[in-house]
Structure formats: C-alpha cells, structure tokens
C-alpha cells in the first residue's frame, strides 16, 4: 500500500506540518501514539531505542523518555525528553508541550515546542496529522538537531554550547 507522507515547514509561523497515513485502524494507531510499550518500539530512530521512564497519559499527565543505543546505556543518559499532555480528545487528537529534561523531568532550558496530533479514520487506514510549533527558530533548530544526534550524549552538551554561541553572536 502506498502511504502518504507529507512534511512542510512554515518558517514564518515556526511550524512543521506532517501528515502520514498508516495501514491500520484508528484504535491501533491511537494506541501506538499513546501507550508507552508501543511508543518504545518506534519512537527513536535506529540505532537508538526509546525507553520510557514515566507515562501518565491524561490531561495534566506526562511522558518522560530517553533514547538509548548499543553504545549508550540507560545509566549514562543525562538527557530526557518531556512530553506534557495538555488536552486529550480520545481517538481524535491530543496536544502536548515538548521539551528537554533531566531524568526527573525538570526542564533543562526554556526551549519547547507545542504539538497537536490529530487522527482520522479512513477506509482501511488512519491518517495522522501533526502540527509542531516552536517557540522560536533557535528552538526549532535545536530540536531538529537534537533529533539528528539523539542519543549521542556527548554531542548534546557540545551542541548546547554551540547553539548558545550562535544565538549570542547574532
């Protein structure tokens, strides 16, 4: 089956729009986005693996997870991702505030993004629409970068330093 994948960026509104179809029914896709045991199976890019530390899927609850790889054991990971659930409409949509945190879920910096995931059941498939708004372009840059070197713990600290330099040299 040919599954749609659309990724567009609007720099003016600091928003990334992603649309993706999945060949499964709504119940299953919803679970895959909201249950820790399923998220852990796909949420990190290879060779990393997502590892949930806490998951409390309800409005006001949060998901705290990290990325581990064969080289980085969970004990060595200092960097966690924090997803706070703001609004949940079961099987329809949920919105979150995403940021970087330490292992206890305390924010590491002021950078964050607001994400809305919407789900739509269609014949034999489910369409997921993701809208990710960043508080500023530097954050967008940082999160995008955080994405591409996720798990390389040493890289993160260097990168923070690097981005701070870019921001202050502006």
């Amino acid at each position: 089956m040919n599954l749609l994948f659309d990724f567009t960026v609007d720099k003016a509104t600091k928003t990334i729009f992603i649309t993706r179809e999945f060949a499964a029914d709504l119940d299953l896709v919803w679970d895959a986005f909201t249950k820790a045991e399923l998220l852990d199976q796909w949420f990190a890019p290879k060779p990393y693996q997502a590892k949930t530390k806490e998951m409390d899927f309800r409005e006001g609850g949060r998901w705290l997870y990290t990325m581990v790889s064969p080289e980085v054991s969970p004990e060595d990971v200092k960097r966690y991702s924090l997803v706070e659930f703001i609004k949940i409409q079961p099987k329809t949509s949920f919105s979150t505030r995403n940021s970087f945190a330490d292992e206890n879920g305390n924010s590491l910096n002021n950078a964050f993004s607001l994400v809305k995931n919407s789900f739509k059941a269609e014949a034999e498939k489910t369409t997921v629409h993701i809208e990710k708004v960043f508080d500023n372009l530097a954050t967008l840059e940082m999160l995008a970068t955080g994405g591409f070197i996720e798990g390389t713990a040493a890289g993160f600290n260097n990168l923070d330093e690097y981005l701070r330099t870019l921001v202050t040299s502006k």
């Binding site: 990334i16 890019p45 591409f148 040493a154």
Partner: protein, 106 residues
C-alpha cells in the same frame, strides 16, 4: 570537488569538529588534541568538511586556522531535512510495529 553535505555531517567526528570550530576558529593541531584519533585522520575530516563548504581557512602568521562557514538559515534547512528523514524512518518503524500487531491478531 563538491561533496554531499549529509554524508559530511553523518560522521560523529565531523559533527564534533563542527561544534568545536563553531565556538572559535582553531588550528588543525588544536582540533586534533580533542580527539583520540591520528592527526592524519583529522586532516581527512577537515578536508571533507572544507569540500562541503562548511569550513573556511584563514592564515594567521605561520598557522592555518579553520573556521565555520555556514549561514544560519542554511543550517536550519539542513537540520530540518535531517529531521524529516528521521520522522520518515520512525514512521516506517511504526508501520512495522502495526503490521506485527495486526498479524498477531489474525
């Protein structure tokens, strides 16, 4: 020779070099001190990064300094593209997870 910029930044040592140089321009020797690899291998990384137009050389006295040469919007575009690829990859993993669950149910 022009090289693929994604190939250039896919290597962890080269990314680390970019991060180092972003903070201040450095000589090849100073860069090499930060890594547990041969000076030769650092030279090779520097050459690749230069060929991708990510580094510029600056002569100061006898020393050559390397500095980061990249405009910010270009960086964002690179990272967005990388982010897009990661999302694509993650979703393919999810396809597999969904497929496995559906098969188990059958």
């Amino acid at each position: 020779m022009r090289r693929d910029i994604f190939q250039a930044i896919a290597d962890p040592t080269r990314r680390a070099i970019l991060v180092l140089i972003a903070v201040q321009s450095m000589t090849p020797n100073a860069i090499a001190e930060h890594f547990d690899v041969t000076r030769q291998s650092i030279s090779k990384h520097l050459r690749i990064l230069s060929e991708c137009d990510l580094l510029a050389q600056k002569q100061e006295g006898r020393e050559i300094y390397y500095e980061l040469k990249i405009d910010k919007m270009k960086e964002i575009d690179i990272w967005l593209d990388q982010f897009r690829k990661i999302m694509e990859e993650k979703f393919q993993q999810l396809d597999q997870v969904l497929f496995n669950i559906k098969n188990k149910k059958k």
